[in-house]
């Protein structure tokens, strides 16, 4: 039987309306401490297992390894080729030497005489053969035909015939030889004795001293290595931060758009989710770069022994990079600035990504950030040329350009220890602030759907509690 008695309910206002705001620290302390490694692990595995990751890693590695082999192969192919030069001389001897012999000496003077073939094979011919020889030049049977004569003043004149471009390497080497020949001839005719002419082209004794190198205590090869690390570091930081920073933003947006975030935000704190994502994706970037760099370095190191096999005792005029001279300190700085830079930018990327509801909107929302990063990259490239200019020094303390510019300054400029330490302190403090702001934005952003993400919203959410 039903009772018709109206019932008094207990859902009325609570007697004492206490307003209690409690701190987040309570929950943070109780949160499972293994959450961050768990999330890092998941993010890392999710990226590394992706087919696109595997394919791009293989592709980049192949391109770089091939790139390392190409110069060796070209050299191996070209070393056995020889330019044929025929000289028709009507000018007589120059400085008491036969013109053909003199040109032969000058053109081939830089080679290692014991093993390597001559770059130029120089032979002489009679004036009557000129027409036939020109035809041979035309038919690519002969590389260069030079006729030497004298004008009314007794100066040497040259006619140069080739089927290749007159702006090519071959032409420039022959014309340099001709100039030298002309110079020697003139000196001899004005009475400079033979003995002095011989030493004319001996390089002077030059002892170069760089105060910068004295300051850094680096040898010239070490300076070169440091420059190389700085340059590679600038490019590497830029590429990895852009590529993997975007992945951080996409990851946040993806979790929002497929709504897994609803569960994740219950199981873990926004800070854990964010830092786990940044570190996990950052590590996948480090993995890819390590694979690529190790493969490329191995390929580069393989070139010297390979050359000695293919090209017996090759000589190269380019300064060689000695791996041993890569200073450990410089590599360590690269590592430190890379990690700090990735954390700083990663937090920003994560915050922006958390504001976006759909994957497609990630790129456009990231626009301003991409520009910020691109500008500091350009500054880094310019900074390599002028590492001690005041604007580079000033901007190297601005946290968003510190990683790239400080690395540049350490690599090619002069920088004192306190400056490096100060920049590190600034970076660490900015990262802490940035993470705090980004966590707030992330907390609010991940539960917010359908609104347009822009920088204004970012600031608004950062201020909200």
């Amino acid at each position: 039987m039903l009772s018709l008695k109206p019932r008094k309910k207990e859902t009325g206002p609570i007697e004492a309306e206490t307003t209690v705001m409690y701190a987040r620290s309570g929950s943070a302390a109780q949160q499972n401490r293994r959450n961050i490694p768990l999330i890092v692990g998941r993010e890392y595995k999710a990226r590394v297992k992706k087919r696109s990751f595997v394919i791009s890693t293989i592709a980049i590695t192949l391109i770089l390894v091939a790139g390392a082999f190409v110069p060796t192969i070209i050299e191996a192919l070209s070393v056995n080729s020889q330019s044929k030069v025929v000289v028709i001389n009507t000018a007589g001897a120059t400085a008491g030497q036969d013109v053909t012999v003199a040109l032969d000496n000058i053109l081939n003077q830089s080679r290692d005489k014991t093993t390597r073939k001559k770059d130029f094979e120089v032979t002489s011919a009679q004036p009557g053969e000129k027409a036939a020889l020109r035809q041979r030049v035309h038919d690519d049977k002969l590389d260069v035909l030079v006729t030497v004569g004298r004008n009314a003043a007794g100066d040497l004149t040259f006619d140069y015939y080739t089927n290749a471009s007159t702006a090519g390497v071959q032409t420039s080497r022959v014309s340099a030889a001709i100039s030298q020949l002309n110079f020697t001839d003139k000196l001899a005719r004005s009475g400079v004795p033979q003995s002095q002419l011989a030493s004319l082209y001996t390089p002077p004794e030059l002892k170069a001293t760089s105060t910068a190198e004295e300051a850094t205590g680096r040898t010239p090869t070490e300076t070169l290595a440091a420059y190389f690390v700085a340059f590679a570091g600038v490019v590497l930081i830029y590429i990895v931060v852009t590529q993997y920073g975007v992945m951080v933003a996409q990851g946040a947006a993806e979790e929002k758009s497929n709504r897994i975030m609803e569960i994740m935000i219950n199981a873990a704190t926004p800070f854990q989710l964010m830092i786990g994502k940044i570190v996990g994706i950052g590590l996948s970037g480090v993995t890819q770069m390590s694979i690529v760099l190790v493969a490329a370095s191995a390929a580069l190191l393989a070139q010297a022994p390979l050359k000695s096999v293919l090209v017996a005792n090759s000589t190269s005029n380019a300064p060689s990079l000695d791996i041993a001279s890569l200073s450990l300190g410089m590599l360590l700085m690269l590592g430190i600035y890379f990690v700090l830079g990735f954390l700083l930018y990663g937090a920003l990327y994560a915050a922006v990504g958390s504001l976006v509801s759909r994957q497609e909107d990630v790129q456009s929302a990231l626009g301003p950030l991409t520009i910020l990063l691109l500008v500091s990259y350009m500054l880094g490239i310019f900074g390599l040329q002028a590492p001690d200019s005041s604007w580079v020094v000033a901007l190297s303390f601005f946290p968003f350009s510190t990683p790239i510019l400080m690395l540049t300054r350490i690599g090619v400029g002069t920088v004192s220890t306190w400056e490096v330490l100060l920049s590190l302190v600034i970076m660490v403090v900015s990262i802490a602030i940035m993470l705090a702001i980004a966590t707030r934005v992330y907390r609010a952003g991940v539960l917010m759907y359908g609104q347009k993400a822009d920088i204004g919203k970012l600031f608004k959410l950062a201020r909200s509690k």
């Binding site: 018709l4 019932r7 987040r24 979790e255 539960l447």
Partner: protein
Amino acid sequence: MSLKIENISKAFANVQAVRGLSMEVQQGEIFGFLGPNGAGKTTTIRQILDIIRPDTGQITWNGVPVSEIPRQAWGYLPEERGLYPKMTVEDQLFFLAQLYGMPKKQVGKELDQWLQRFQIEVNRKKRIEELSKGNQQKVQFLAAVLHDPEILIMDEPFTGLDPVNVNLLKEAFLELHRRGKTIIFSTHQMETVEELCQNLVIINKGQIVVGGNLREIKRSTGKMVVRLALDNDPELLWLDRIPGVTITKRRQDYVEMNLAPDVTPEQILQAASHQGGHILRFELAEPSLNEIFIERVSGTSMPDAPLTSQPVNVINQGAYDHAKS
């Protein structure tokens, strides 16, 4: 031993989502948390789970603020479902249960049991995106309960499931209830609430409009519902002239009325027998939760059938109009 929500309010940029909401959920009960779309249910749930903080007021579990309760105590099935589509069922569930703080070994044991119960053992190594929608829902449910939470909050757990799976899920609900878990769930299916819940609240515009024990809520509406049908008179217009009787429905097969507290069903029965027809139907009923919901939320009761036919004479018409106004 209860979850106590005391006078919480939460405002977003320009919306007051929850205002001065208080309720109490006893440990170990199945509690219905009802309300129309946009009433503030999700906002309240997120505050209980400490995903967002109330502007004012506090929420405690057994006297401890919810922000200090370990995450493992909470299980949450959000209304918007989502999992990592590229992860396998196993990886996914291990990851989430470990996040909540359950040791890996224990996860394995629990997982075996649950996968068997839900008959998705064969899908263990499959990626989420390869599963059917129903199986995805099951995995989603497991993601909420696998870490053995004390308090389960389920937002619309039965939507999108076929009847077989709805039963499977209800069984799981009751199993968890037997294990002493506290379950709070929201749904728009009032029959399910009537079937499962001892206590409930209905909220609208951020405030509680009805709350308490289900049976008492029905009684406290102060309504005695009577359904009556006579073979010679489908309209029963004479009912309008009895004070304290409010006709709620005139259907082809019966007329339904609410009785004021001073009118007894016997009086209606007597009056009906004086009309001279055979009584085809005489029925006492409680108002359904559906009716209470609609009435309290929209302030009107919903007609579920049009009137049967035109009134037969002018006098009756007038009486009808009078009673209606």
